[in-house]
Point group: C2
Chain length 82, copies 2
Amino acid sequence: MPKFMDVHHGMHGITDEALRAAHQADLDIQDDEGVDFQRAWGDPDSGMVWCVSEAPSADAVKRIHERTGHPATEVYPVPVEV
Amino acid sequence: MPKFMDVHHGMHGITDEALRAAHQADLDIQDDEGVDFQRAWGDPDSGMVWCVSEAPSADAVKRIHERTGHPATEVYPVPVEV
């Protein structure tokens, strides 16, 4: 299944607890779109968050993030990885 | 050790082989700055590449990437992770 990197802006002050809650909200409904959210990293100062997922499409990733209230600013396919 | 997400722009057409070679070049000299590059993902269409590392500082990450010829556009600390 294709892999994606999605990018969120504006999540200033994000905490471990808040990121875990947001990630869990995604996990709770990801099966609806066949998405598998794997990892997420956040920078409280810049408000940036990145998530790596496997999904049928970028739109599937976007729909899950929109439904859980933290829409991704950008979703990129990442077919290349080391 | 702090973790960082660095972002590269302009790497259009990046292949698995090219990303592996770039990553290996970083690994070869990363000890000079105490950096540990862990993973990297690339999107050949947008030319974006992201790397996750552990390092003493963002500047240490930048210096390694500059010396190996693929300077990072941005380096963010990512103290928050799931």
